[in-house]
C-alpha cells in the first residue's frame, strides 16, 4: 500500500475542513477579530482618503486573525491526543504539515473574501491600480503568513504560553514578508508605481520558507 504525500495531504485538508465546518471555531474567531479591527480602525482614522494607510491596516487585520486561527488549528490535534495517533501511523509528517497549511490557507482566503466588501464600505476604498495585481499580492502574502505560521504554531503548541509564543516566533520572521505585502498593497491601491519588486520578493520568501518548513517539520512534530 503506497502512502503518497499528495494523497495524504488531500486527506488531511478534507479532514480539517470537515472539522472546521462542524465546529466553525477557527473561522468564527478569525472573522470576529477581523471585524473588530475594521470597525475600531474606521473610527480611529479619517476615512476621507484612507488609501495611504490601508495597506498596513488590511494586513494588520489578517496577520492577527491568522495568528488566532493557526493556534486553534493545532490545538484541535492535541485535544484527545490525536496527534499521537498520527505519529504512530506510517503516514509521512510532511503530509500533515501540507494539509494544515492548505486548510488554513483556504480559510484565511475565505476570510479575506468575506472582509473585502467590508473594507470597501467602511473605508470608502477604491483601488487605483488593477485588482488582479491586488489578488496576486494577497495570494502570495497569505501563503507567506500561513506557511510560516503553521510551522511556528506547531513548534509552540506544546509550550505553556502558546498564544504568546506564536506571535513572538512568527512576527520577527515574517517581518520582511509583511513589509512587502504592505508596500505592494499600498502601491496597487494608490496606483502610483509598480508593485512587482515587492511581489517578486514575496514569491522568493514563499519558496524559501515553504521549503525550509517542509523539510524541518518532522523534527518539530517529534520534538518532546
Amino acid at each position: 500500500m503506497s502512502l503518497s504525500i499528495t494523497r495524504l495531504t488531500v486527506v488531511n485538508v478534507r479532514k480539517d475542513l470537515r472539522l472546521e465546518w462542524r465546529s466553525r471555531d477557527v473561522f468564527n474567531s478569525m472573522l470576529f477579530f477581523a471585524l473588530l479591527v475594521v470597525v475600531v480602525f474606521s473610527y480611529a482614522f479619517d476615512t476621507g482618503d484612507s488609501r495611504p494607510v490601508m495597506g498596513g491596516l488590511i494586513w494588520i487585520a489578517f496577520l492577527f486573525s491568522t495568528n488566532m486561527a493557526l493556534n486553534q488549528s493545532w490545538a484541535r490535534e492535541l485535544r484527545n491526543g490525536v496527534l499521537d495517533a498520527y505519529r504512530v501511523s506510517p503516514a509521512p509528517a510532511e503530509s500533515l504539515f501540507l494539509g494544515k497549511v492548505l486548510g488554513n490557507y483556504l480559510l484565511v482566503l475565505l476570510l479575506e473574501c468575506v472582509m473585502a466588501p467590508l473594507f470597501v464600505v467602511f473605508y470608502n476604498l477604491k483601488s487605483g491600480g488593477p485588482l488582479w495585481q491586488l489578488a496576486v499580492v494577497f495570494l502570495l502574502g497569505t501563503w507567506a503568513l500561513v506557511v510560516n505560521g503553521t510551522f511556528f504554531a506547531a513548534m509552540s503548541i506544546r509550550t505553556k504560553n502558546r498564544e504568546l509564543m506564536l506571535p513572538i516566533l512568527l512576527l520577527p520572521i515574517s517581518l520582511p514578508a509583511v513589509y512587502s505585502m504592505v508596500e505592494a498593497t499600498s502601491i496597487v491601491l494608490n496606483g502610483d508605481s509598480s508593485p512587482w519588486p515587492y511581489v517578486k520578493f514575496l514569491a522568493g520568501f514563499c519558496v524559501i520558507y515553504t521549503t525550509a518548513c517542509f523539510l524541518l517539520f518532522e523534527i518539530v512534530l517529534n520534538a518532546e
Partner: protein, 200 residues
C-alpha cells in the same frame, strides 16, 4: 526509564505492571516511537521501531480521536493514514469492540466507555502484529471489560503480540502469558502469569 533490556516473543500476551509512576506508559510510548530513549534502541520484529509503524496498534489513556467526527468517520480518516482500508474492515473492527457502526453520533457525544472501545477499534482495524494497550479496561463497565478481554484473547490466538498496561490484572489471569513488573523506571521482575500473580 533506566537500564531496561527486554526481549519479547512474538504471539505472546504480556502484562506490564507497576505502581503509579513506575514508567509503564512511558515504556509503551517508547516502543511506539512517541518518546525517544536517550540511549539504546527498540526493535519491533527485528526492525527499528519507527520503520515498523504499520505493524503497530497503539491505544493510549486519551482516545486519540476527533470529537467532531462520528466513529466510522474517525476510522475512515485513520485508515487513510495506513493506506486505506475498505469500509467493511472498519465496520468489522467496530463490531468486534461492540459498537454499532451505523451510529451517526459524533464521538464528542459518546460515553467514556464507548470512546474507549472506539479507541481500541482504531488500534486494531489494520490488524497490527503488535498491540500496545494502555489501560484498555478503564472507564468501561465490567461486561464490556470482559468482552474486550475476550477480544484480546482471540487476537492473541490469531498470533498477535500484545503488551498491555492495566491495574485490573484479574481479568487477564487466564489470558496473559507473562507479566513484566516495573518499579521506578526499572525492570523489577518478570515471569509467567499465574492466577496467584493476577491476585497480587
Amino acid at each position: 526509564m533506566r537500564g531496561i533490556s527486554l526481549e519479547l516473543q512474538p504471539g505472546k500476551f504480556y502484562v506490564l505492571r507497576g505502581e503509579n509512576g513506575a514508567g509503564k506508559s512511558t515504556l509503551l510510548r517508547m516502543i511506539a516511537g512517541l518518546n525517544e530513549p536517550t540511549e539504546g534502541n527498540i526493535l519491533i520484529f527485528g526492525i527499528e521501531n519507527k520503520q515498523a509503524l504499520e505493524h503497530l496498534g497503539y491505544m493510549a489513556h486519551a482516545p486519540l480521536l476527533y470529537d467532531e467526527l462520528s466513529g466510522l468517520e474517525n476510522l475512515r480518516f485513520f485508515a487513510e493514514l495506513y493506506g486505506s482500508f475498505p469500509d467493511q474492515a472498519l465496520i468489522q473492527a467496530m463490531e468486534r469492540v461492540g459498537l454499532d457502526p451505523q451510529l451517526d453520533r459524533r464521538i464528542g457525544q459518546y460515553s467514556q466507555g464507548m470512546r474507549q472501545r472506539l479507541s481500541l477499534a482504531r488500534a486494531i482495524f489494520h490488524s497490527p502484529r503488535l498491540l500496545l494497550l494502555d489501560e484498555p479496561f478503564s472507564n468501561v463497565d465490567p461486561e464490556s471489560a470482559l468482552a474486550i478481554a475476550k477480544l484480546l484473547a482471540s487476537m492473541r490466538d490469531e498470533g498477535k503480540t500484545i503488551i498491555l498496561v492495566t491495574h485490573q490484572v484479574g481479568l487477564l489471569s487466564s489470558l496473559a502469558d507473562e507479566y513484566i513488573l516495573l518499579s521506578r523506571g526499572q525492570l523489577a521482575d518478570r515471569g509467567k502469569m499465574t492466577a496467584q500473580q493476577a491476585r497480587t
